[in-house]
């Protein structure tokens, strides 16, 4: 690696934790993280969706969309009693004696005594007296949905960077011509002007570009500026006409002539070429397949039957949406029962995907959870009996009774409002550089 990731120490920077130093030097084999000072208690953590900032225990930190003012947090321990159903009706939440609070589900990232702001890291002086870290003006929290480092269960969705809660990606070292885009849950390298997917060629294994003129009509080199400083794994190779082409970790990068829009990746599967991912692809368990629905690829069970998760966010007041969730392991709210009359009927409609005894789990996206016997999209409490079932981002996955073939969408969007529903799990991009099993229905 040409440019060392050893951080430069100077007096202006607060003490860096030893852990983060070590992490920096061990060099992820991915896009390099920018070497910038961090406060004590803040670490870098590799997740399936990029390198994120994490707390001292390695648990992912999040920002909240409802914290719209700089360095101000509206997430408190106050029990909210009034909700807004999104149609202008206000109502009182049920079960007030058991209502969670925003902070009980999203603990704040506390400031260690004696710590000082540095770079984009600032300190929020909360009205309740506590001190909380903020990054780029956004207060930081962890989530009770995450049980181990590397999980990002509170940032669910097609874009990890959409929704009420977002992870905070560590800034990475990218040339002006390169950005990171998302295809499904994957972070891919793209051009910065056209946002087109980048690729590398197996033929370029010696670090030189072997794409001749004919090849270049299909695969366009991504050019580097005439004045440029190589760093962070980015170097350039000189082509025959003396122009410079970017290379990442020694591999020259290209766009594919047939890609027409950001997120297009038609070059995938072309012999000898690979999509340039910002980090290696996390794996998918053997028991999980990809099935093609009319709305695109989705995850399915071993037979290709569409998988669904229940996601629920309390219908809070305008400007406070997302403060509490109703899809946590301890939730027995009536929201999900509402779509199927009662628990017995619901257990008949929605069937979990039980995990084999010796099922292997890789990465932090898929996991195995324990479900109570009359199953529901909740986990058993510790010590209680139950069945082992697959989960995606901490949420147990289910098939829908009325689907008997791969690729169906009968269960899609069954729910209440936007914030409480069963949805299938987007598998866009799972076929990049190799895919999990795909199962298709026979046509009729």
């Amino acid at each position: 690696m040409k440019n060392s990731q050893w951080p430069r120490l100077n007096g202006a920077i607060s003490a860096l934790s030893l852990g983060s130093l070590l992490m920096a030097s061990s060099a992820f084999a991915d896009v390099a993280v920018r070497d910038e000072p961090r406060p004590a208690g803040i670490t870098l953590q590799k997740t399936d969706n990029g390198v994120v900032f994490a707390d001292k225990n390695g648990l992912t930190v999040y920002t909240a969309a409802f914290d719209s003012r700089k360095d101000e947090s509206i997430c408190t321990n106050e029990v909210k009693t009034i909700g807004d159903n999104g149609k202008g009706d206000l109502f009182t939440f049920p079960n007030l004696d058991r209502r969670p609070t925003c902070l009980s589900q999203h603990p704040l990232v506390a400031v260690e005594p004696g710590s000082k702001p540095v770079g984009l890291w600032t300190i929020v002086d909360r009205p309740d007296g506590a001190k909380q870290w903020a990054y780029d003006g956004k207060p930081l929290y962890t989530s009770i949905k995450d049980t181990r480092p590397g999980e990002t269960n509170n940032a669910y969705g097609d874009s990890q960077q959409g929704g009420n809660w977002r992870t905070v990606l560590a800034p990475v070292i990218l040339p002006p011509e390169i950005r990171i885009g998302e295809i499904g849950r994957f972070r891919v390298l793209t051009t910065s002007d056209t946002r087109l997917t980048l690729y590398t060629s197996a033929a370029d294994k010696d670090g030189k570009s072997h794409c001749d003129k004919a090849c270049q009509t299909k695969w366009h080199p991504v050019m580097a500026p005439e004045f440029v400083k190589e760093q962070g794994g980015w170097t350039f190779v000189k082509n025959a006409d003396e122009s410079r082409q970017w290379a990442f970790q020694g591999k020259p990068v290209y766009t594919f002539d047939r890609d027409s829009f950001p997120g297009d990746y038609k070059g995938n599967g072309q012999p000898g070429w690979e999509v340039a991912l910002a980090q290696p692809k996390p794996s998918v368990p053997d028991a999980i397949t990809v099935t093609q629905t009319v709305d695109g690829p989705r995850f399915g069970d071993s037979k290709g039957i569409t998988l669904y998760t229940w996601r629920c966010s309390d219908p809070g007041l305008q400007g406070e949406r997302g403060q509490t969730e109703c899809d946590n392991p301890d939730n027995r709210s009536q929201w999900w029962v509402a779509t199927c009359t009662n628990e017995v009927k619901c257990a008949d409609h929605w069937r979990p995907v039980l995990a084999d005894e010796n099922a292997k789990v890789d990465g932090t996206t898929w996991s195995i959870v324990t479900l109570q016997d009359t199953w529901a999209p909740v986990r058993a409490a510790a010590g209680q009996p139950g069945k082992k079932a697959w989960a995606y981002k901490g949420r147990p996955v289910f098939t829908y009774k009325f689907e008997d073939r791969p690729g169906m969408s009968e269960g899609e969007n069954t729910g209440l409002l936007i914030m409480q529903r069963w949805t299938s799990i987007n598998a866009d991009g799972e076929d990049i550089n190799g895919s999990p099993k795909e199962v298709r229905a026979a046509a009729k």
């Binding site: 040339p175 011509e177 910065s192 004045f227």
Partner: protein, 552 residues
């Protein structure tokens, strides 16, 4: 440098240039009195995106450049600078400087590091500004220039406490300096012969082949003197012709020659042509450019542009041509079947729709366009008092354009000009005003017969073939390419050169790359002589300003 003094400098510069007199009373054509050419939008973007990378966000809207002798490239030496136009350059300059020195990109784009971000750093400022200045001014900065720009950077850095912002101020100033905005023609006289200097040659070469300022390697060849030797020049020309960047030069030439700026004012009547959309017009321009560029890239016979059934299409274009597009979200190579009426660029929407009225065809416009663009001939504008009523409120028994245009042809006042346009334009009548093919007009069969300078044809394919075979079309291309390369109007003094280039072009098999390469290594491209003393015996056969506008 403020704007007022900028104007002053430009004026002085202009005068100094015009005063340059070359020796060498060579009768061979030459660059002529070097004129300063204003940078075009494309050249600006091409240059800066090479220097600072394609990630640079840049979409300038500079004032349009007049068209002279059929080309904007020639008009660029007639372009004037107004305060408004300078404003545009100033805005663009700040945008570029901010991006280059901004936090996001500076680590990559500024190759040295100042000792402190909040103070001046002479060494880093000098290193950066001399490298950038060399490329922008197409030559190394003089000592005085270097001193001035570095001083400005340092002063600003100290007063704002920001090294990078200080740098941005100087960069910004460079980007509106006349040395950057104008491509001048510095000369040298060696053994009695006056030519462009090596840096002057580099600039000329780069504008022709890449539509851009010289890259680092070309500047090095100038610096080392290699460009002053035939071998060194040849090596650079070969490098540049072999490069994918040649596409930029080729596309710009044809976009210019085919007057595609007319697309910017193209509109169709939504009632008559409800499926002709803005996207169709954007794609139509690109279709023809890709078609022509492919012929050049494949080093094929240039005349194929008139007859080839191979082209490139999008889904929107497919709906006009009535063909299936296998990949509806992409550009696809497409070949029309043999015997299909679509053959050559005259049958592209970029010609048929562009040279037509919003609601109908215009054989006269089409004929005029063929004469002026492909034959380099001048068609006079219509008189101010022409009566269009017979065309717009026609007798209903006159079903086709041919019938309606009879009125002009039978009127002796009109006949003179229409005689030279309509016989060709009527050959295109199988394509309506939006480019759709039709066999009939108002249920009357279309008669597309005509003649091109004595060659008979029965339809657009025949007309295109006649153009393909026409020696005038070939020599017109040669003239245009030479005018484009020299950046000045041609006159009778250039005839011998045009003739010899044309013969060579024909002998090469009508290869455009060969023509460009031949021009690029030709002495005439670099010789300088004082032509003000020479009175052209006559204008070149295609000379005098002719602006191809949407007129009649």
């Amino acid at each position: 440098m403020n704007k007022a003094s900028l104007f002053g400098t430009l004026a002085v510069l202009g005068a100094a240039l015009l005063g340059t007199a070359g020796h060498g009373a060579d009768h061979v054509a030459s660059v002529g009195v070097p004129a300063a050419r204003l940078i075009t939008e494309d050249q600006y973007v091409n240059t800066l995106k090479v220097v600072f990378g394609p990630g640079l966000k840049l979409a300038p809207r500079f004032a349009p450049i007049p068209r002279v002798q059929g080309l904007v490239a020639v008009g660029s030496s007639h372009a004037t600078m107004t305060a408004g136009a300078l404003d545009q350059f100033d805005n663009a300059a700040r945008l570029v400087a901010d991006q280059v020195t901004g936090r996001e990109n500076r680590d990559f784009l500024i190759t040295c590091r100042p000792k402190s971000n909040t103070a001046a750093d002479d060494a880093c400022a000098q290193e950066t500004l001399t490298r950038i200045g060399r490329v922008l001014f197409r030559r190394p900065l003089t000592t005085a220039e270097t001193k001035a720009y570095v001083k400005a950077a340092n002063q600003n850095a100290e007063s704002i406490h920001d090294f990078y912002r200080g740098l941005a101020v100087s960069m910004s100033a460079m980007l509106i300096a006349p040395e950057f905005l104008y491509v001048t023609q510095p000369t040298q006289t060696v053994r009695g012969k006056t030519t462009l200097t090596a840096y002057g040659k580099a600039a000329r070469l780069s504008l022709l082949l890449w539509n851009s300022y010289p890259d680092d390697a070309l500047l090095n060849a100038a610096e080392s003197g290699a460009l002053n030797t035939p071998k060194g020049l040849q090596a650079q020309v070969e490098r540049m012709v072999a490069s994918p960047r040649l596409q930029a030069g080729v596309r710009n030439f044809f976009d210019d020659m085919l007057v595609f700026e007319n697309f910017e004012t193209l509109s169709k009547d939504a009632t008559t042509f409800p499926t002709f959309t803005y996207k169709v017009s954007v794609d139509a321009r690109e279709q023809t450019l890709r078609t022509v560029a492919a012929i050049v890239r494949d080093d094929a016979d240039f005349r194929d542009i008139f007859t080839t059934r191979k082209t490139f299409l999008t889904n929107d274009l497919g709906s006009i041509y009535g063909v299936r597009i296998d990949k509806p979200d992409e550009w696809v190579p497409y070949e029309f079947p043999a015997n299909d009426p679509h053959a050559g660029i005259l049958t592209h929407v970029s010609f048929t729709a562009l040279y037509a009225q919003p609601g109908r065809t215009s054989p006269t416009r089409r004929g005029k366009a063929i004469r002026e663009i492909f034959l380099c001939q001048k068609v006079p504008d219509p008189p101010a008092n022409v009566d269009f009523s017979k065309l717009t409120n026609p007798d209903p028994s006159l079903k086709t354009s041919r019938d309606r245009l009879e009125a002009h042809r039978s009127n002796p006042v009109c006949a003179g000009c229409h005689k030279i346009t309509d016989p060709m334009g009527l050959g295109m009548e199988n394509f309506d005003g939006a480019g759709f093919y039709r066999a009939e007009e108002q249920k009357a069969p279309i008669d597309a017969r005509g003649d091109l300078e004595g060659v008979q044809f029965s339809d657009a394919v025949g007309l295109s073939k006649a153009l393909h075979d026409s020696p005038k079309a070939t020599s017109c291309l040669t003239q245009r390419m030479l005018g484009y390369a020299l950046g000045r109007p041609l006159d009778s003094n250039d005839e011998a050169l045009v003739k010899s280039l044309n013969e060579d072009f024909i002998n090469s098999g009508y290869r455009v790359r060969h023509l460009m390469q031949t021009i690029a290594i030709n002495d005439a491209f670099y010789n300088v002589e004082d032509r003000s003393a020479k009175v052209p015996t006559k204008e070149a056969s295609n000379a005098s300003s002719s602006v191809q506008k949407q007129g009649s």
